[in-house]
């Protein structure tokens, strides 16, 4: 377990999504705990997530509403400017993604970002600290948030 956490830590910011996915799945702890506590982790529960299939996302527009939605829901972790520094940030084991970071966001497709928002971090091989918003926001709203994140990073998927 100790090693998988180390992997997790290292792989968080790099391209090897698959490794991260494995590490996250192997890593049985919650979001608010410190690293030392993970030995007490209970067994993995079954996931409600859907499989992430490669596909193209319909494009969407960013409106004032999109920005407000981001401020209202996402800023509590990702920060008002998307820099990953919201109020919850320092209490999470895995930091909220910095939505202005080009190097990382270029490696994610719009569909991947969509799925992360809709189904939550766990469902896409990312940390469970990222909640699922699929019952709060409809698909249009989520698509426009993906576009908004593209605005924040000023980047496209490569």
């Amino acid at each position: 377990m100790k090693t998988s956490v180390t992997n997790m830590k290292k792989s968080c910011g790099n391209l090897f999504a698959a490794i991260t996915a494995l590490a996250v799945l192997a890593w049985g702890i919650g979001c608010g705990q410190s690293r030392e506590e993970q030995a007490t982790a209970p067994p993995p529960a079954q996931q409600e997530a859907e499989k992430v299939r490669p596909r193209k996302l319909e494009s969407a527009r960013v409106t004032e509403n999109t920005r407000q939605t981001y401020q209202w829901y996402c800023a509590q972790c990702h920060g008002a400017e998307g820099k990953g520094d919201g109020v919850n940030a320092k209490f999470l084991t895995v930091p909220p993604r910095d939505h202005t970071k080009v190097a990382y966001l270029e490696t994610r497709t719009d569909a991947q970002l969509f799925d992360a928002i809709k189904f939550g971090g766990l469902a896409v091989g990312r940390a469970p600290c990222m909640p699922a918003w699929g019952h709060t926001l409809d698909d249009d709203a989520i698509r426009s948030l993906v576009q908004y994140i593209r605005e924040l990073c000023q980047c496209e998927a490569l």
Partner: protein
């Protein structure tokens, strides 16, 4: 405010809760920060809604809180629509309070919550317990306590499957406070909240908050009840 609504409101205030317990809430000016009736929809309140206090809280906790207020929302994100006075019950020294008013860049330099003598606290708590809304029908709460295995499973869901801990403080196995601060702390949920209200909140949050920062969840009634049972085991006397 439209005049008609104004009169309805006045009418409501004059007619509805006529007991002395409701008066005391008004006397003490609780309504300047808290919503005390469903009818008050015009104003943006600086503090959490209390118009369903009788549905939500345990009376002993209310009384204790009014005698000796303690921080519940470390980041005070209750209602974030300006203008909003910078209020928190926090003693400004608590480390997390620096996060207060996070979206408005406000620091935790606010006046303390009003506190009361034993007698006044009792009267106020009674008054608050009388504030109820016609809430959606309650689900029957499971009576049997969680087995060790069930507790481990629901704790796992709290921390991973549903990311609850990302926004709420709770206790880990070692009795240490862990978790995010954008939602109310749940460290003392077992003394503070009513089990059936927690279930109702998870099922129909819109009955209590027109818009909340908490995600909506779709979960079955068993899971809802287990979350409630799990939260009821969190008590501040278990903090180590």
């Amino acid at each position: 405010m439209k005049t008609s609504t104004f009169f309805i409101l006045i009418g409501f205030l004059l007619l509805a809760p006529s007991s002395s317990t409701a008066e005391i809430l008004r006397d003490k000016d609780c309504g300047s920060c808290h919503r005390l009736s469903v009818a008050e929809t015009e104003k943006n309140f600086a503090a959490p809604d209390l118009h369903f206090a009788g549905d939500k809280f345990q009376p002993a906790w209310l009384k204790q809180f009014l005698k000796n207020p303690a921080v519940i929302r470390p980041a005070v994100t209750v209602i974030d629509t300006p203008p909003r006075p910078p209020v928190t019950v926090a003693d400004a020294n608590t480390a997390v309070v620096t996060a207060a008013g996070f979206l408005r860049e406000r620091s935790g330099n606010s006046p303390p919550h009003p506190s009361f003598s034993e007698q006044d606290a009792s009267a106020l708590a009674d008054g608050l317990m009388g504030l109820k809304i016609s809430a959606p029908p309650r689900e029957s709460t499971v009576a049997a306590p969680l087995s060790k295995r069930q507790r481990a499973k629901i704790k796992y869901k709290f921390e991973r499957t549903f990311s609850c801990i990302s926004c709420h403080q709770s206790l880990n196995l070692a009795g240490k406070v862990r978790g995010g601060i954008s939602g109310p702390s749940l460290v003392n949920a077992g003394n503070r909240l009513r089990a059936d209200w927690i279930v109702s909140w998870l099922k129909t949050p819109e009955a209590y908050a027109a818009k909340s920062r908490m995600p909506r969840y779709e979960m079955d009634s068993v899971t809802r009840n287990q979350f409630s049972q799990f939260l009821m085991t969190l008590k501040k006397e278990n903090v180590k």
